[in-house]
Every structure is written in structure tokens, then in C-alpha cells.
């Protein structure tokens, strides 16, 4: 039974599945009221509990996990910040439902430790006193080790994924991710007939910043402008670094009107933000070009990018600090 539990955990591909696999198998190994897995990285606590568990018992379990976690030398965790996911299951026969006033009487809480790093903890909880013995602890620690190893694997995969999709300097999505995302959004838009706008932005006279203040300060400018861009868009939009001082925004379901409004908001925000660089306050501006489906009748995502780029060129040629919309050969 222990072996099949371990196998089920090790082949899980997401956190929820780990808890499900362990939760399904644990009742064959232990008598417990709830089983919890806390993942520090995402402040996520999964509780797999007997369906008759009264809410105060659940709360007590959460508090106990937080308490043990702080005993383990970790920063105190604010209960409010924890995302709690509870899975209620029938773990006991009908005649053994939990007392509505049941309290936490015993627990085993083990840190999930891999390579001297604490990833979280697991807990087995009961409303019965002295519910667990040394053999339970032995089995539970083996399960804990497997969960820790699987979570570590998830963590590694996630950091590889991060490297693959994010720009390390600005924290925005990188060009590769942008291409992929645009592929999906464009397909949805072209086939579904919903609007899609692209905004290409370029920092005006950025070369001068690099040449006069140095590349480190230039990088800081890129980082701060990236933050302004992120703060100015909608939740469903994608902001990516296109290359150098160029950024690109995918605005799904945004017509020309909405795209212009977002771009103009960004232009004004950058223009009105003093950047404190190298003990000086400098003002910067951005130029932007917008393309839109279906207005610009683009037939492919590549064409939509090219159109936004041409509109950006028009904004530059027209004196910078401008937003231009692609309109064929001439831009507005």
C-alpha cells in the first residue's frame, strides 16, 4: 500500500494531483481526519479531509500548520495570504462522523525538505488523542520525502519554463513567448472574427540614455518602463519585450478605439513620469504604432506585426512621442 501511494505521488503532474493521489491512498494506511500539503512558494494549502469535518476543525488545522512552519525557522505566514483548497471526502463509515465540536487532538506535521531547502510541509491530523504512533510517522515521512521530491521536480520545471518565456532584464514576456501567444490569439481572432490589436512601442532617443548615462542606467530605464507598461494594460493583454528598447502589446478583443486609448494612456504616463537615473531626473517619451484586425485586413500574424511596425515608423517620422494607427501607406 505504501509503495502504491509512493508510485501515485511520483507520477503526479501537478500539485492537486499529488494531494488527490496521496489522499486516496492514505486512508488505507492511517486513521485521520484531514491530510494537508502546504506549498510555500505559492502559499497554497491543500486539505483533503473527512466530509464531516466541522469548519472550526479545518481552521484549527490551518493555524497549526502555520504555527509548525514558523517553528521550523520560516518567516511567519499571514493566514489571510494562504490560498486554501479543501477537498471533502468520505473517509469514515457513516456511524463515525465527526462531532461538530471536534477539535484537533493529534497531528504529525513534517517539513518537505530537499537539498536543505524547505518547500513546505505535510500534515496528518486527527480529532482523536494519540492517533498516531512511531510506525505511522515512519510511513508518513516516506510519503513526505516522495512529495518533496515531486514538488522539487515541479519547481525545476517551472524555473525552466520561466527562463523560456520571460525576459530576464524587464520581467516581461520575451519575444519567443510573444510569437507563441500571438499565434494563439491571432488564430482565435481570425477564425472567430473578434478584434485583435497590436501596439508596438519604442523609447525615444534611448541610445542617448545609454551613451550618456551608461548601459546599467539604460537597463534601469527599460525595467521601469516595462513596469509602467504592465500597469497600464488589461488583465487579458500580453506585454513583451520585442528587442532592445522595443516593446509589443497584444490586446485581444480590442478594437482600434480601445487600443488607441490604451496606447495614449501609456504615452502620457511615460511622458509624465520623471525617471530618477544616476542621481538625476530625466524625462522620456515613447512612440507607438497600432495595427488591428479586422480593420487593417491582415491575413497573418506576421502581417499584423509588420503593420504595427510601419505605424511605429510613422510615429517616429512624425516627430516622436506619438501614437500612430496603421492605415495602409499613410498613418494617422
Amino acid at each position: 500500500m505504501l509503495r502504491s501511494t509512493i508510485n501515485a505521488i511520483s507520477t503526479s503532474i501537478e500539485m492537486k494531483e499529488i494531494v488527490e493521489s496521496a489522499g486516496t491512498n492514505l486512508p488505507n494506511l492511517f486513521d485521520f481526519s484531514s491530510f494537508g500539503v502546504f506549498w510555500k512558494e505559492d502559499l497554497l494549502l491543500f486539505l483533503y479531509q473527512e466530509e464531516s469535518c466541522p469548519p472550526p476543525f479545518t481552521q484549527e488545522v490551518v493555524k497549526n500548520i502555520i504555527k509548525v512552519f514558523s517553528v521550523l525557522g520560516e518567516e511567519p505566514i499571514d493566514e489571510e495570504r494562504i490560498t486554501l483548497q479543501v477537498e471533502n471526502r468520505k473517509l469514515r463509515p457513516k456511524q463515525m462522523v465527526m462531532d461538530p465540536k471536534a477539535t484537533l487532538k493529534s497531528h504529525l506535521t513534517l517539513p518537505l525538505v530537499i537539498e536543505e531547502e524547505i518547500l513546505g510541509c505535510i500534515a496528518l491530523n486527527s480529532d482523536q488523542p494519540n492517533a498516531f504512533d512511531a510506525q505511522d510517522l515512519q510511513f508518513f515521512s516516506v510519503i513526505g520525502y516522495q512529495i518533496a521530491a515531486t514538488l522539487k521536480h515541479f519547481q525545476r520545471l517551472s524555473s525552466i519554463k520561466n527562463i523560456a518565456i520571460y525576459d530576464t532584464l524587464t520581467g516581461l514576456y520575451n519575444r519567443r513567448y510573444f510569437e507563441e501567444r500571438l499565434g494563439l490569439d491571432a488564430q482565435k481572432s481570425f477564425y472567430g472574427g473578434t478584434p485583435l490589436s497590436l501596439v508596438m512601442a519604442d523609447i525615444d532617443h534611448f541610445k542617448k540614455v545609454n551613451d550618456t548615462l551608461g548601459h546599467t542606467e539604460g537597463d534601469r530605464v527599460l525595467f521601469e518602463i516595462a513596469n509602467l507598461l504592465k500597469a497600464s494594460v488589461r488583465k487579458k493583454d500580453t506585454v513583451a519585450r520585442y528587442g532592445g528598447e522595443e516593446f509589443i502589446l497584444i490586446l485581444p478583443e480590442a478594437g482600434l478605439g480601445e487600443a488607441s486609448m490604451i496606447a495614449e494612456r501609456i504615452r502620457k504616463l511615460v511622458e509624465g513620469t520623471p525617471f530618477e537615473i544616476a542621481n538625476a531626473r530625466i524625462n522620456l517619451t515613447v512612440s507607438m504604432g497600432i495595427s488591428n484586425f479586422p480593420s487593417n485586413r491582415a491575413k497573418s500574424k506576421e502581417e499584423l506585426v509588420k503593420m504595427a511596425d510601419e505605424a511605429l515608423y510613422d510615429a517616429k517620422r512624425g516627430g516622436r512621442n506619438k501614437v500612430c494607427i496603421f492605415t495602409g501607406r499613410s498613418a494617422q
Binding site: 504555527k67 509548525v68 517553528v71 521550523l72 525557522g73 493529534s106 497531528h107 504529525l108 506535521t109 513534517l110 517539513p111 525538505v113 530537499i114 536543505e116 524547505i118 494519540n130 498516531f132 504512533d133 512511531a134 505511522d136 510517522l137 515512519q138 515521512s141 516516506v142 513526505g144 520525502y145 518533496a148
Partner: protein, 132 residues
Amino acid sequence: MAPAVKVDKGGKWSSDLVLDLYSNLLTEIWELVSALIGEAILAFLFTLAIRKLGEKYPFLNSLKVSDDGISLDEAREDCRTVAPIEINRGFQSLINHLSQLFSALAEGVINKELFPKVFPKVKEAERIISQK
């Protein structure tokens, strides 16, 4: 049974003797508890306890903890200038702190296994050292 007694020329307990005593005790704790919670968690708890007490008893920082166990080899050098009674206090604090951690994690389950085997030896060590 009391451990073999060695007295240095000054008639005092040598640091080495106290270290031998606790080396055996910690090895016993390691073997017993690692069988219950695994080496990785136990090494983590030892490191945590040492970090907590290392400021008060700096020689504890020279204990080497890994998944293979705990080694006092480096601590011997650092303990040459430390009074045996202080070494005793440091190790007692370490064992007490570990016991508190065990209790926080598994209530009485670990200590129930540990106490009958280890606690008398801790008391015995205290008795021998306090004789001087």
C-alpha cells in the same frame, strides 16, 4: 553504565571526554530519529537547532551535519579553549531544542521513542560532569 572516566593532569574533565560523551549520544539520537523521519528532515532540524543556539554556544557551529549524520571532528579543535561545563551546557541546550522541535512536529511520538533510551544518558552525563 557510566562512561569510561578520563581526567587530565589538572584533575579536570577534558573537553575531549565531554565531546566523546555527546558524540555517542548524538549518534544514538541520529540513528533512532532518522529511522522515524528520514535523514533529510533530521539533518534540517539539527541545522536549525544549531543555527538557533550557535550565537550563545559558538562551538556548536563547528558541528558538521549532513544526510549521513553528525560529526564533531571540527568541534574538537574549537572546543580546546572552552570549559567542559560550557560544552556540556551547549550540548544539553541542543538536545533540549531538538526535543522541542520533535514535539512540535509529532507531539510525543518521537520523544516517546527517544526518552527511554537517551534521556538517562543525558542525565548520567550531567551527573558525571557535575561531580567535578
